[in-house]
Structures are given as C-alpha cells and as structure tokens.
C-alpha cells in the first residue's frame, strides 16, 4: 500500500491562544483535583506562551491549558487517574513534545525502563490536595520526552 509523506510539523507560535484557547478546556473532571505546574525553558525561565494538552485515556477525558505569565498551566483531573498522556506546545518548539504525567509511581514498563533521576521527572507530587508537575525542556532535571 502506498505510504504518503506525513505533513511536517511547525511551531504553534506566540499567538495560538486566539485559535486554540477560545474556550476553557482545562476541566477533565469538574469534581476532580487540581493538577498544576510550571513550563520552564533551559534557563529556568517560564515559558509564558506555551500550551499543555493532557489525555486521561482510561477515562477518555481530554483537556488543554495555556500557560500564564509565570509559565503555569492548570487542570482539574480525576483524583484516581494514574497517568495522563501529555503534549507540550510552545513558540520555539517546531514539533510538540510528548511526555506522560504520572499522578502516582506505577510499576509499568515505561517507568521501569528509566533511571531513577529520569523517572522522577515524570511523577507528580502531591500538593495542597492536588498534584504538582513541572515540565523542564532542558537541563540536568529535564523532563523525559518520548519519540513521536
């Protein structure tokens, strides 16, 4: 069967919110708990024009949050969700990046394949009754991203 060439990716640019954030899509579970964090660049500076999408595949719930001036994104997610499939977008990212937000440390093949330091970048910590998960694009504590 013919294999077509995939359309290449391009950055979302700085103005994506006029198209992608016209409505609030950040509540995967309105009754759930807050999951928030900072999106940080290689200097530790906030990425204030980024966007995070999460997919709670087990419950088939999806959400999207832009980042604010501090680089903060926030969602309301199921309290007992295990892992959220995650995409990160930003100006300066020519292709979005895929990661996974674990709300608790699971005994699964993905985490088992990583070294302890890398594994720690994928596990959220409990904070104020919800979860905190920072995303670092670069540096010694850079979040693990997965090949597309």
């Amino acid at each position: 069967m013919t294999q077509l060439s995939r359309t290449p990716s391009q950055t979302v640019g700085p103005f994506y919110s006029i198209g992608l954030c016209r409505r609030r899509d950040d509540e995967l579970d309105p009754e759930g708990v807050e999951l928030s964090g900072l999106l940080l660049d290689g200097r530790g500076e906030p990425i204030w024009d980024g966007m995070v999408e999460v997919w709670d595949a087990a419950a088939r719930r999806w959400g999207r949050s832009n980042t604010d001036a501090e680089g903060r994104f926030r969602f309301r997610v199921r309290r007992d969700a295990d892992v959220l499939e995650t995409h990160v977008f930003a100006r300066g990212l020519l292709r979005h990046q895929r990661t996974r937000i674990y709300l608790r440390e699971l005994d699964d093949a993905v985490l088992a394949s990583l070294e302890a330091g890398e594994r720690a970048t994928l596990v959220a910590r409990a904070e104020d009754g919800g979860f905190r998960f920072d995303i670092r694009m670069q540096g010694p504590n850079a979040t693990v991203f997965f090949a597309p």
Binding site: P8, F15, G19, R22, F89, A142, F146
Partner: protein, 236 residues
C-alpha cells in the same frame, strides 16, 4: 566562541538529513532554550497504538468555519476558500477529525495582545475557526488571505503568509500542529521556521495549491491543501 544562535540564518538544504523538522534549528532562535536537549525515549509498542480524543459536533458552532461572517461587517482582504482532505499515511480519509485554524488579518496583524506590529486590527476579523472533517476526510473554511508580518528573530525578518492548523486524528500519535503557506511566496527562502524542515521536498508539503475549480466568479479565490497525519494503528 561563536554562538550559532547569534549568527546569520543558515538554511539547511540537504535531503540526506531526512524529512523531519529539525527541532533545535539554530536559525529559529526561540528553539535555543526550548527544544529538548536530551534524546527522546522510545515508548513500548502498545503506547504507539493509543486511541486519541475524539470531538463531536458539540465542539463546533455554526459560523466556526466561516471567518468572514463572525462579525456584523465583512473583514477587509481577499476572500478565499481553503479546503482539503485529512488522510492517514496510507491515504485513508480521517473522518470527524477536529481542524482548528488561526491566522493574521489581511494586514499581517493577529488579534492578540502580544502582537504589536503597527498594522491595523480589523474589527470584523477574529482570525480563528474550527470544523470537523466529513466522511471523505474533507475540511472547508472560508476566510481572507492573511498578510505577511515582521518578527524579531533576526534583522528584517518577515514571515511568509500562513494559516496555522491544529489537527486531531483518531490516534493520539496523529496529533499535528503546523502551518499552511501560499504558492509562490517570495519570503520562503528567508524564513527559518519554514526552512527548519530539512528536506526541501517536505517543505513543499506545506504549500497549498491554487484551486481554480473552487473559486467563485466575482466573489472569491480558492486554495487546496491536503494534510497527512501518521498511521492509524487500529481500525476505525
């Protein structure tokens, strides 16, 4: 030591580098601190076949696919139809795919607080639309042709005219955000974002085709652009 990110824009033109976009492309300076610096990790097979979010008609409002009719008056600019098909990499149409677009107005200005380009805003143009693909995988928008605009990447930097596209297929891995360009744009050779795609043939995949058959006499021009997402690892 020379920081390659401070140097002139150097454009790759080497197909042997592969078709993909180079995420740490030095010519596009914002990549410097944002592109991942560590190698990407490969996921187990079953996570490559993950079903993705699916959006229904409830995601769409009646005038979402006509950017020329979202205000009381008509926007200034060249009216255009932009249509095409969303396919997987085996050529199968992806139906019910959510397509979201956003763009500058005819003067090259976005309706966004951060955009300070001294070109007029158009009170009749928001520059955003969305639709779902039909059973043939087809999407259709009516809009106006966006203008080129300057940006701060390097001295006298201008973006070729483009429309931003965001797509969800059926599989999680089919997610794509990209930009559609217009044929014959004189700015192509100078744009680091366009040229961050390493293979010149792949860059052409982002250029729409003038579509005489869909022009409307005395009314509007038309462009056609097909989008190919990754593979569908399961039957729809």
């Amino acid at each position: 030591m020379t920081d390659p990110y401070d140097g002139p824009v150097v454009l790759p033109d080497d197909p042997s580098l592969g078709p993909e976009v180079q995420v740490d492309f030095p010519g596009y300076r914002s990549t410097r601190w944002r592109a991942p610096s560590r190698p990407l990790v490969t996921l187990p097979e079953e996570l490559h076949a993950l079903d993705g979010p699916v959006f229904g008609e409830s995601a769409i409002e009646p005038l979402d696919n006509d950017l020329t009719r979202q205000h009381d008056g008509e926007p200034i600019g060249e009216r255009i139809a932009v249509t095409g098909r969303v396919l997987d990499d085996r050529g199968r149409p992806l139906r019910g795919a959510l397509v979201e677009i956003w763009q500058a107005n005819a003067c090259g200005r976005y309706r966004h607080d951060v955009d300070q380009h001294p070109a007029p805003l158009d009170p009749n143009f928001s520059g955003a639309g969305r639709c779902l693909t039909d059973d043939e995988g087809r999407y259709a928008f009516t809009t106006i042709k966006p203008g080129s605009y300057p940006w701060g990447n390097h001295p006298n930097a201008w973006r070729p005219a483009h429309i931003h596209f965001s797509l969800f297929g059926r599989a999680f891995e089919q997610r794509l955000v990209t930009q559609m360009y217009f044929p014959g744009d004189p700015l192509f050779p100078y744009d680091p974002i366009f040229n961050a795609i390493r293979d010149p043939k792949s860059r052409e995949l982002l250029i729409s085709r003038f579509d005489l058959a869909r022009t409307q006499p005395e009314w509007s021009l038309a462009f056609e652009w097909d989008i190919v997402l990754g593979s569908t690892p399961f039957e729809q």
